[in-house]
Amino acid sequence: MTHNVDERPALVAKGSGATRFIGTLITVAIAIIVVGGSAWLIHLNEPQPATKVAQAAGTMKTPQGDLPHYTLDLSVYPNANTADCAGGPTLGETIPGPVSGIGQVFAQKCPPFWWDSTSLELPAHSAITITVHQYDGSTPVNSDYFADVHGTIDGKASYNGEAKTGIKPADVAHTFTIHQYPQAGQPYFFVSVPMRAVPSNAKPESGSNYPKAEVIEFTFITGDPGSYIWNCEDPCGNAYQGFGGVMMQRGWMAGTVEVV
Amino acid sequence: MSAAVESPRSATTGEAVKTVARRNRLGIWLCIISDATGTVALLISYTYLWSLNVNNQWAPPKNAWADWWPFWAIVAGIVIATALIWWGIAGIAKGHKGRLAGAAVLASLILIATFVGQIVQLSTFPFGPADGAYASATFWLCLATAFHLAMLGLLVLAVSIRTGKGLISPDNHSHARFVAMYMTWVCISAALGALVATTMLASPNTQMPLFGTFTG
């Protein structure tokens, strides 16, 4: 019977209680270091766009009386093709791709759409005027609600100088929508302004990769300090309903708003 | 034990082949059960989407439904092959091996033809897989059948080879039986698929609200 051949070496006990105890402590220490270290590395590895602070511009007469006035300039660029990446405008190698941070294997060097920053800082209890230069074409919105202007002073925004309460859903390129942060204490805050698209047949201006920009300007009033987020509500990404990729990415079509 | 000595023994484990055969039959039954759940999952998907007609997108564009006869032609192919194998098994049980070998070769030819037919049907649908829920569900019913056919081709080929080598012999032909059992199940599965795909066409539900709205 060749069945019960024991193929293992003879077993002997090794190690004392003390060594085991020390070994336990060392193992725990190693585990803590591994977890904490990797958490910290991942945290560092997830770039956030540089914060953009609103500039003071005197005071402004508003329905709520005279308030300190601040301005903020933003730009939205259309699809960047490889040529742009090579030597185009200051498009962001620093900007995370649709797969950011630890998952950067397929991160894009060039953003399809681009705001010069998405981390905004606004002063509290003041009138904020945001001016957006919009170079991008249109994608119809999923919900017409976001083709209207909400939350600005008298509910209007100016498109190339003419004040409107909204634009045609088919003309929307992106929207700038600030909304709530899950903090019951802080004041509710909702601003949504659609960005009108440049005409689909627009030619690039000379010396630039982009056609003439649509200039959207709107003013709203901030309340008490608090943390908010904003994102684009226009399905300008990819995958199902256009909300994949860049739409799900801070630094691209979403960001944070700090009212300080 | 004495009884076990006369009956042939398995070369690998030395147990009586009867014991091994009983064991394997249970295994095959369990595999069939598991496979059946998969088929049921596909049928659920088909009938569920058919009954909901979400966003009025069940029907393919221009109501171009698939022809009914290719489904049943494929089912017929599998049924004939299965019948052949059973016939061969009945033969080998009586002792002549040639019948099973011949039947298996013939059946494998039929199965290959059926497989080709399945591929042709898949590639000649009047719609693409992206044209609505009916298209998707039908494509997957056919893909499942194609997968089954490929596997059956292999199994039947094995039966013919092993019979030729005398490994499937009158007193040890359980493997052929297992293959036949599985083929019988595949017949049922393919027939069920063909049944829904050819009878449940236009969706009964026309009241679904349009996507993102509150009215039909």
């Binding site: 077993l11 002997v12 006990a13 085991r20 070994g23 336990t24 193992t27 725990v28 585990a31 977890v35 991942i42 945290h43 093709n81 490889t82 649709p98 797969v99 950011s100 630890i102 998952g103 397929f106 894009q108 060097k109 060039c110 942060y181 019951a184 995958a239 199902y240 994949g244 990729g245 799900m248 | 023994r9 484990t13 030395g14 009983r22 064991r23 249970l26 295994g27 369990l30 595999c31 059960i33 598991s34 496979d35 998969g38 999952a41 659920i44 569920y48 989407l49 909901l52 979400v54 966003n55 997108q57 897989p129 609505g132 829920a133 298209a135 569900a137 080929l157 094995a158 080879i161 996507f211």
Partner: protein, 652 residues
């Protein structure tokens, strides 16, 4: 109780088929390294060729385009096929088709004869080797899942800032969930079901040794795609990847789907193997009323897994085809339905919970008789309990969908079925309590696990009763309360039971005694920290905190801080336990054949277990629960029933 007879089979008597080459044939040249190399090479070639022919456009512009999805998916499939080919999984079927049947020498080589430790790296069919491989795999998966859990609690504990971006946070909750689910499914049925169960029923090996190896190596091939999702954008949708949100995720999602599809094959094969073994390979004399209860538990878990896993598998196959072929099963714009996904998912999803809990419970019932020196209380009730759970588990899945608005009136019947399943579950509780009734425990670590698990299970079941009730679920659904509840069931009742079972059979599996001093420290730290963590998570849920959020109201801060502290302590405890396992495995005290004085068959053979388990096959003459002495009170009662009968009559 069993006696050894001299029923041996004479291998040499059997006429052998022609021996093709050396014993083992092709498998002599394959091992895990050839498998990994072949898999990677094939995957890389596929990606290189595919990226030439598949039109997936300019990645910079359109990242999630269908063609690119298909390319990634095909690459993953190539990895799986290449790995299985490289490790020699296809050798068996091909030999069968060509009629080159295995000789006894082949079988013995494939069972790892004379290969020393190297057999653990090969396509080895011996059930003991597969059991050890499963054990290692389980430990690795628990390490990964626990690591992700620590990251999650870190994010939730640091309430004043975002440690991770929302996308990465969503990815780690999803990956943590599915990794832990897979680990919990295999933790008992894999190592112990493969290693212990065949010995327990007196068999020489599993029914289908090659399928046994196949099931493990399929699992091995399925894990890398899952883990790689973190590098490809992650699965940002929780472990129940509800469509269509799943279709918005980057290509990392494909890794998840491939993993589930392959893992479902692995589970189905393993279930077929376990059921067939338990039904057809029991030792002579082991009739159904003498089978150890652990075997019954494994059978019922295997049945549920076998019957229901294809539903989950197809939910992922169809979701994958939505990505790769742009079909529209789950895309409501094109006629798909989100409820279809939820139904297919939960048709497995709920039985899966019992697949996790049942084997551990059965193992505890098995071992508590040993440590209480007491027969199993009401064996028939235990069997009825397992059977009832196996049956009813098929018709309760909708209680995960009360709030989806799918057929609101379905709440009534499924509330009924969900409450009904608590009755067979109660049978098992009765068996455990009855066995414990008036028993004096031998307080070794496995027995302590029994107490811990019963405590956790009580809380899990009671909170489960809340959630099974539609009105209450209307408040609790999707809140942290649910998270705490299923952690009490899966971790508190499942994982701690697995710890008990593994530490009970550790001597038989490794040939060494577990260092119980260190292991107990780890165990108790983990247990009490577990209470802190999930009790405070219950509180957060009751306060109205939704699950899967990374920022939340200040009102929930305190409970989350406590929960995070507890989670860290769980981690520390588990690490200590792991350390005890590893050191004891390397150089623990050599174990005697039967350290616990147990009566089941696996303890009757020598340690370490020889190649074919038993030099001679045992014959069973009674069930393995013959512990204990006659109850003295029975004597008193009998005496009373004769002597004091008049008194009893006069009392009326």
């Amino acid at each position: 109780m069993s006696v050894m007879t001299t029923d041996i089979h004479e291998q040499t008597a059997v006429p052998q088929p022609k021996q093709h080459g050396k014993p083992g044939g092709f498998l002599r040249h394959t091992n895990i390294f050839t498998g990994v190399v072949t898999g990677l090479v094939l995957a890389i070639i596929t990606f290189a060729i595919g990226s030439k022919i598949v039109p997936w456009g300019n990645q910079n512009v359109d990242f999630d385009q269908v063609g690119f999805q298909a390319l990634i998916g095909i690459t993953y499939i190539a990895w799986v096929i290449g790995f299985m080919a490289g490790i020699g999984a296809f050798a068996g079927p091909i030999r069968w088709v060509l009629g080159h049947d295995l000789t006894h020498a082949d079988a013995e080589y494939m069972a790892g004869k004379g290969q020393g430790r190297f057999k653990y790296w090969k396509y080895t069919t011996d059930h003991k080797v597969v059991g050890i491989q499963y054990l290692i795999m389980t430990l690795v998966l628990f390490g990964l899942g626990g690591f992700l859990a620590m990251l999650i609690r870190t994010e939730l504990g640091i309430t004043w800032a975002e440690v991770f971006t929302p996308n990465f946070y969503n990815s780690i909750i999803g990956t943590h969930g599915i990794v832990m689910i897979i680990a919990m499914i295999i933790v008992v049925a894999g190592p112990l079901g493969n290693f212990i169960m065949p010995i327990m029923i007196g068999a020489r090996d599993m029914a289908f040794p090659r399928l046994n190896a196949l099931s493990f190596w399929l699992l091995f091939a399925a894990v890398p795609p899952l883990v790689s999702n973190l590098l490809l954008g992650g699965i940002r949708d929780g472990w129940t990847v509800y469509e269509p949100l799943g279709s918005q995720s980057p290509v990392g999602m494909i890794g998840y789907q491939i993993c589930i599809i392959v893992f479902a094959f692995s589970t189905g094969i393993a279930s077929v193997n376990l059921i067939t073994t338990a039904f057809t390979m029991r030792a002579r004399g082991m009739s159904w009323n003498r089978v150890p209860i652990f075997v019954i538990g494994i059978i019922s878990a295997a049945i549920m897994g076998l019957v229901w896993f294809p539903m989950f598998q197809y939910s992922q196959i169809l979701a994958l085809s939505d990505r790769m072929l742009a079909t529209s099963f789950f895309n409501p714009l094109m006629g798909g339905s989100v409820w279809l996904y939820e139904n297919l998912f939960w048709l497995l999803g709920h039985p899966e919970v019992y697949v996790v809990v049942i084997p551990g419970t059965a193992a505890l019932i098995e071992l508590m008789t040993v440590f209480l020196r007491k027969p199993l209380f009401s064996y028939k009730m235990a069997i009825a309990g397992f059977a009832g759970i196996t049956g009813i588990s098929a018709i309760v899945w909708v209680h995960h969908m009360y709030m989806t608005g799918w057929a609101p009136s379905a709440g009534y019947p499924f509330m009924l079925s969900t409450e009904l399943i608590s009755i067979p579950f109660g049978f098992l509780v009765l068996v455990m309590l009855g066995t414990m009734w008036r028993g004096k425990p031998w307080t070794r670590l496995p027995m302590m696990c029994v107490y811990a698990v019963i405590w956790n299970k009580i809380i899990g079941v009671i909170t489960g009763v809340y959630l099974s009730d539609v009105p209450v679920d209307q408040y609790m659904h999707g809140s942290m309360f649910v998270v705490a509840h299923f952690h009490y069931m899966l971790m508190g009742a499942g994982l701690f039971a697995a710890i008990g079972a593994i530490s009970y059979w550790f001597p038989k599996m490794t040939g060494r005694m577990l260092n119980e001093r260190i292991a107990s420290i780890g165990f108790w730290v983990a247990f009490f920290a577990f209470q802190l963590t999930f009790m405070s998570m219950f509180v957060a849920g009751l306060q109205g905190m939704p699950r899967r959020v990374l920022q939340f109201d200040n009102a929930f801060n305190i409970s989350n801080w406590l929960s995070t502290i507890g989670a860290y302590c769980i981690g520390i405890g588990m690490v200590i336990f792991l350390f005890a396992i590893i050191t004891s495995w390397r150089n623990g005290k050599p174990a005697p054949a039967n350290p616990w004085g147990a009566k089941t068959l696996e303890w009757q053979t020598s340690t370490p277990v020889p190649l074919e388990n038993f030099p001679v096959l045992p014959v069973v003459t009674s069930d393995p629960y013959g512990y204990g002495v006659p109850d003295p009170y029975d004597a008193v009662e009998k005496k009373m029933s004769e002597a004091d009968q008049p008194v009893g009559a006069g009392a009326r």
